[in-house]
């Protein structure tokens, strides 16, 4: 498995990480029309990778192909290989339900279940046969999502009474309760106000030590602030992929430079 040299920003110490997801010439087609074209890159363990690019560049499509959520969209087909810890996600022997159980997802708009806060967290683990203490798991997940203090006295209340930012953190907690290996986030802050956005960005730093995170965003500042690696996509092509620092300060491609300096997009 591939290894990457990585400079930790806080300790300046070199750390190595291993590949969790390896994309090999991945194309995603909507009824034959390519939305993502031959993308190759590697997602490293316990790192935050952001995918940026103008609207319609295929970044969300690419993200959804990483946990096979595209299976539910009519007419989608995939070419190339996506290796998840060495195994092909689209292999014949792979059950997509199993893939989604290991690779969690947070969506663009908060989508809590119309149930209690408690049940929002507990449903996923319970249908997957979780046998430990559910109360503990709910508390731990809500704490990890920095929501526990705000909701601990009203766990039985409906999740729909929470604010938008709280709902999104609930959705993150819900995904974390499954203890996924990878957490995919599809523009998780686009429906939120700046304060809620800051909450969630802080949260990403906390989660980084335990999870591998891939985040799609069209907010370049957000990508620069939170991520270790950045992928820049345009019209379905992966234009440039590298450490965030390098992408934003010393981009190799002209197009990347134009985008990150705000000249288009």
């Amino acid at each position: 498995m591939a290894q990457a040299e990585y400079v930790d920003a806080t300790t300046e110490k070199k750390k190595t990480s291993e590949a969790v997801l390896e994309l090999q010439e991945v194309s995603v087609l909507y009824s034959g029309k390519p939305a993502v074209k031959k993308v190759s890159c590697t997602i490293w363990r316990n790192r935050i990778t952001s995918i940026i690019g103008p609207s319609g560049c295929g970044k969300s499509t690419l993200l959804r192909s990483l946990n096979r959520m595209n299976d539910f969209v009519d007419g989608v087909s995939i070419e190339g290989n996506i290796l998840f810890v060495g195994q092909n996600l689209y292999g014949d022997a792979v059950d997509p339900v199993e893939v989604r159980r290991r690779i969690g997802m947070v969506f663009q708009k908060p989508n809590p279940f119309p149930k209690s806060i408690y049940n929002n967290i507990s449903w996923g683990p319970s249908i997957n046969g979780y046998s430990g203490s559910m109360d503990e798991l709910v508390e731990r997940s809500l704490q990890q999502a920095a929501l526990w203090d705000e909701v601990k006295d009203r766990l039985q209340e409906s999740a729909l009474n929470l604010s938008g930012g709280q709902q999104q953190r609930l959705c993150i907690a819900r995904a974390l309760a499954m203890e996924p290996q990878v957490l995919l986030m599809d523009e998780p802050c686009s429906a939120l106000d700046p304060i809620s956005t800051a909450h969630i960005e802080d949260l990403l730093f906390e989660l980084q030590s335990r999870y591998t995170i891939v985040i799609v965003t069209h907010n370049m500042q957000q990508a620069a602030r939170v991520s270790d690696y950045t992928a820049f996509m345009e019209m379905g092509n992966l234009v440039e992929f590298g450490e965030t620092d390098q992408i934003f300060t010393r981009p190799e491609k002209k197009r990347t430079e134009e985008y990150v300096t705000g000249r288009f997009g």
Binding site: N67, V97, N128
Partner: protein, 292 residues
């Protein structure tokens, strides 16, 4: 006044007048239909209320109007409601779930959809003929409750399927995606999230369909529900009568007393209908509150 020129002002007054006129027209149409319904109810109540007492509800039909009652018809109708509910709801809701959640979009699905829509417009007497040929004759179920219930179930299945599908369609995709992204199977997603969210809408459709079924007369006449039944059905294989049949049979007699008995029967039928609708609204409001 000062904002507009004289010409614009005139035009505006004219537009406001048209708007008011249309609102009045709508109000008139609405209230006139309510008014007509009111007259009908009062008319029936005046004829029937005098006959409507405990004796009427607890007696079997009789040749003597003063002793005649609606017991066997009321019990027959209650039997029918319960049996139709047990047959039509599971099949109808399952079909709707299959079409909305599981089947692949394609020619076959479209064909089935078009057919269901068409079936909901088929006259009820045609279902009666179908019931007579299939359930009464072919399956040899005789003129029994089960034949009636099966025929009525066929009649209301398209209505239940269409209403349930509409209710299922209103469940946002984001809820399904949320569940699926947690490693749920399609069935777990459907059972835990789609069905509960669609439940109030499905309930409404089901109750409307059941209300239609208990008011139907033609299919029951065709499959041979009896109009003079002086016993209560003990099981689904027994012969039976139902409220609309009893009403029909009384109404077709020349004597004034029987006409009035028919009116009393209609009052009982309306009471059953209102009770069912009230129950449905109660259940719906309760589940809607739970979801919020």
């Amino acid at each position: 006044m000062a904002f507009l020129s004289e010409k614009e002002q005139k035009h505006l007054v004219n537009r406001h007048r048209k708007s008011k006129l249309f609102a009045l027209l709508c109000a008139f149409v609405t209230w006139s239909s309510v008014f007509l319904l009111g007259i009908l109810l009062v008319n029936i109540a005046m004829d029937g209320l005098g006959w409507l007492d405990w004796q009427f509800i607890t007696s079997f039909p009789s040749r003597i109007p003063a002793q005649a009652g609606i017991k066997s018809a009321l019990v027959g109708t209650l039997w029918l409601i319960v049996m139709i509910a047990f047959i039509a709801i599971p099949i109808g809701v399952s079909a709707a779930l299959y079409l909305e959640e599981f089947s692949k979009r394609g020619r076959l699905a479209t064909l089935i959809e078009v057919n269901i829509a068409n079936l909901s417009g088929v006259p009820s007497i045609v279902y009666g003929i179908l019931g007579l040929a299939i359930f009464v004759r072919f399956f040899g179920l005789e003129r029994s409750l089960i034949s009636g219930a099966l025929t009525m179930s066929l009649l209301i299945l398209p209505v239940i399927i269409i209403a349930s599908r509409e209710a299922i369609k209103t469940v946002p995709m984001s809820i399904r995606y949320a569940a699926l992204s947690l490693g749920a199977t399609r069935w777990q997603t459907t059972w835990s999230h789609v069905l509960p969210s669609a439940f109030p809408g499905i309930m409404t459709g089901v109750i409307l369909a059941l209300s239609r079924a208990i008011g139907e007369t033609a299919p029951l006449i065709l499959i041979g529900a009896a109009s003079y039944v002086a016993f209560l059905p003990k099981g689904p294989m027994d012969s039976f009568t139902a409220l609309p049949i009893q009403i029909y049979s009384w109404a077709s007699r020349p004597q004034v007393e029987f006409q009035e008995l028919a009116a009393a029967g209609i009052l009982v039928l309306l009471a059953v209908l209102l009770l069912m609708n009230a129950t449905a609204i109660y259940i719906r409001n309760k589940t809607e509150k739970r979801l919020k």
